[in-house]
């Protein structure tokens, strides 16, 4: 139980999202150092703007320009900035109601320390040097003791040359994955070119790879059982399209293989036989490449084909 495997797991995805007309105008406006809000039916100006009224759900399209100065409505001092946050020195998170707006925008405030921040303080936008049409075009806010912006928002068409119509929102999360007892034992056995499963104490079925529980009985499987190395092809398909970053020539055969002693078929590639001669019942054995963690593929053993009745439960 103590020697459970673990490995870094990075989940990274560059979500690209399209923008509606209001979001597009707002983010393009930021690129041009112009802050737009949207007016609701009752005259309230929402910044950042949304396309549907959060109270009535009616469609909102009437854009207005508000000031780049505003008032902090609440704040939180962040002594230890985390990766990707707007500033890498300690800063305050702030909700800022820009002059002319009725609602507040979340961003960062560059200030020397928490004593320099208070609700009600006046701030202004510090624009990013390079702007692309994203919320990060506002680098942050900074303290400001000059003139207030115009209290009344000005009508704005929301039209700009070369409008931004989408954003790429990259995200990366880092994990340390631990597969637990059953899968750790399976992966360790593979290091020694052995395949192990686990037997259910109730129905006696052997699951490969073991997942720690019997899906029929809903109880833990703990008895380790070595299976294979030989097995039987229970079903297969012929792959004709080459996958990205995969150097296996097509066509090739991908199969379900019931290793001898296993009650669940696992997946593997079949080679060492022309693709159009692979068949259900074919007897195969694993071929290991030097230093590999999994069998590279399975090849025919030369034995007579297995009788259908011996594997029909596993198809």
């Amino acid at each position: 139980m103590t020697d459970v495997l673990s490995a870094p797991l990075v989940v990274e995805f560059p979500f690209t999202r399209s923008l509606g007309p209001v979001q597009s105008a707002f983010l393009t406006g930021l690129r041009e150092r112009t802050v737009l809000g949207v007016r609701t039916d009752d005259g309230t100006v929402l910044v950042p703007p949304v396309e549907y009224d959060p109270v009535t759900a009616s469609e909102l399209r009437e854009l207005v320009e508000v000031a780049a100065t505003g008032t902090v409505t609440t704040w939180a001092w962040n002594p230890s900035p985390r990766r990707n946050q707007p500033l890498d020195t300690p800063f305050a998170w702030v909700l800022v109601r820009l002059d002319g707006a009725a609602t507040a925008l979340l961003h960062a405030l560059d200030a020397p320390g928490p004593a320099a921040v208070h609700t009600g303080m006046r701030v202004r936008i510090r624009w990013a040097a390079t702007r692309t049409g994203a919320i990060t075009d506002i680098a942050c806010f900074e303290p400001y003791d000059g003139e207030a912006g115009p209290g009344q928002p000005a009508p704005h068409e929301g039209e700009f040359a070369d409008p931004v119509t989408g954003i790429a929102a990259p995200a990366r999360l880092d994990y340390v994955h631990t597969p637990g007892r059953a899968q750790s034992a399976y992966l360790k056995a593979l290091e020694g070119h052995r395949t192990v499963g686990e037997r259910c104490p109730a129905c006696r079925k052997v699951y490969v790879p073991p997942r720690g529980a019997c899906p029929t009985c809903g109880i833990a499987t703990e008895e380790e059982v070595e299976v294979g190395p030989r097995g039987t092809v229970t079903t297969f398909c012929i792959v004709n399209i080459k996958a990205k970053n995969l150097d296996i020539e097509v066509p090739y055969v991908y199969a379900h293989i019931a290793l001898d002693g296993a009650d669940l078929a696992l997946h593997g590639r079949i080679a060492g036989i022309p693709y159009d001669q692979v068949r259900m019942g074919l007897r195969v054995e694993p071929v290991w490449a030097e230093g590999a963690r999994h069998p590279d593929h399975y090849r025919p053993t030369g034995e007579p084909d297995a009788d259908y009745d011996t594997y029909k439960e596993l198809v």
């Binding site: 139980m1 459970v4 673990s6 797991l9 989940v11 979500f15 999202r17 923008l19 983010l27 929402l46 910044v47 950042p48 949304v50 959060p54 409505t73 609440t74 939180a76 001092w77 962040n78 002594p79 985390r82 990766r83 990707n84 946050q85 707007p86 998170w93 909700l95 109601r97 609602t103 507040a104 925008l105 979340l106 960062a108 609700t119 994203a134 919320i135 990060t136 954003i167 929102a169 995200a171 999360l173 880092d174 994990y175 340390v176 994955h177 631990t178 597969p179 637990g180 007892r181 059953a182 997942r211 720690g212 529980a213 019997c214 899906p215 029929t216 009985c217 809903g218 109880i219 833990a220």
Partner: protein, 350 residues
């Protein structure tokens, strides 16, 4: 209308990390415990519903592996919500109310230990205006806490008292992760100190629901769900009044919470400041015992902590320690979504 009750509840001993356990390993003991308590077999359950989030483990469809633990083959009637298990319980309650099942198994689990839960939760935010700034869950709660302090609703001393009361109560809870004297600590994100924030941990919970006479047969004192409702607020934080929770109040009203006072309230308030908001929204006075389990400040397995509030409230009714209890669950930043249930023991409803 059918009468539906929570008839069994189990939870894990919540821990900072459970590297040796896969999700199904974590879950199986609590599934077996609730089935054992009712004497039901897995294949006798009418409907199964679970709650979890793939982002916690960083693996797509991770809940399908956990399904092995309920004996899902041959095929069962099953569903999943990518939310706290409290919302899975709501779905199961609907299933029973519509007559499509007489019993339901509800479970949820969360392992926060593989990743950085503060960052992970930032991925549930609005992707256009918020997520690119990576505001973490503590930062957003801290903005709400400062708004409460500015409004005169609380101060740092009062928040520390909420933390101390919760952790002291948790010493009587064998499943709690953080109990007893916990120092207030440094500011994690001002004005919240480490003591105002929940522990990060792994855990799971399960309950069984049953209707009418089935419930009476399975449990000596069922915790009847007299009402349950959930509501949501605008996702833009700058539109909301962070010092209030109108969605909690509305859900409570629809659940019948204001018809009579409750003796117990299990509130899903991962941050001390959120208890202040919820007490106000629910109009709770000193005669209501709040979070005798220690609440989410004592154990906060993400995606299970809300279901645990329903389970803890029900368990107090099962034990005869409560006649009428409120249970609350939340999801999203700064109490964005809220679910409220009213639970009663039979004698209180004569």
């Amino acid at each position: 209308m059918r009468d539906v009750a929570i008839v069994a509840f189990a939870q894990t001993a919540h821990r900072r990390r459970t590297d040796e356990l896969s999700e199904v390993d974590l879950l199986m003991p609590v599934l077996h415990e609730v089935l054992g308590a009712t004497g039901l077999k897995a294949n006798e359950i009418g409907f199964t519903c679970s709650g979890s989030a793939d982002y916690l483990a960083g693996r797509a469809f991770s809940f399908t592996m956990a399904l092995d633990g309920v004996g899902a083959h041959p095929p069962i009637s099953e569903s999943h919500v990518e939310m706290d298990g409290a919302w899975a319980l709501y779905e199961a309650w609907v299933k029973i109310m519509t007559g499509e099942a007489d019993t339901a198994l509800v479970y949820s689990y969360g392992k926060s230990s593989p990743g950085e839960v503060r960052d992970v939760l930032s991925r549930q935010l609005d992707p256009y205006y918020l997520a690119p700034l990576w505001p973490d869950s503590v930062a957003l709660a801290a903005l709400q806490a400062q708004a409460l302090i500015d409004a005169g609703d609380t101060d740092e001393t009062a928040l520390a008292e909420i933390a101390a009361r919760s952790r002291a109560d948790a010493t009587a809870n064998p499943y709690a992760q953080l109990t007893g004297d916990v120092p207030a600590g440094d500011h994690l994100v001002h004005p919240l100190r480490t003591g105002d924030c929940p522990p990060i941990g792994d855990g799971a919970a399960a309950v069984i629901l049953a209707a009418g006479d089935t419930a009476r047969a399975l449990c000596a004192r069922p915790a009847w769900i007299r009402g349950i409702d959930h509501r949501i607020e605008a996702h833009s934080l700058g539109v909301r009044d962070l010092t209030d929770s109108p969605s909690t109040r509305l859900a409570a009203q629809h659940a019948g919470a204001f018809e009579r006072p409750a003796d117990t309230a299990e509130l899903h308030a991962p941050f001390t400041s959120q208890e202040v908001v919820l007490r106000k929204a629910l109009g709770l006075g000193d005669d209501t015992r709040v979070n005798p389990s220690g609440g989410a400040l004592a154990a906060n397995p993400v995606m299970a902590a809300g279901l645990i509030r329903l389970g803890e409230a029900a368990a107090r009714i099962h034990r005869g320690e409560s006649d009428r209890a409120l249970a609350h669950a939340t999801s999203g930043p700064c109490l964005q979504q809220n679910l409220v249930a009213v639970l009663e023991g039979e004698s209180a409803h004569v």
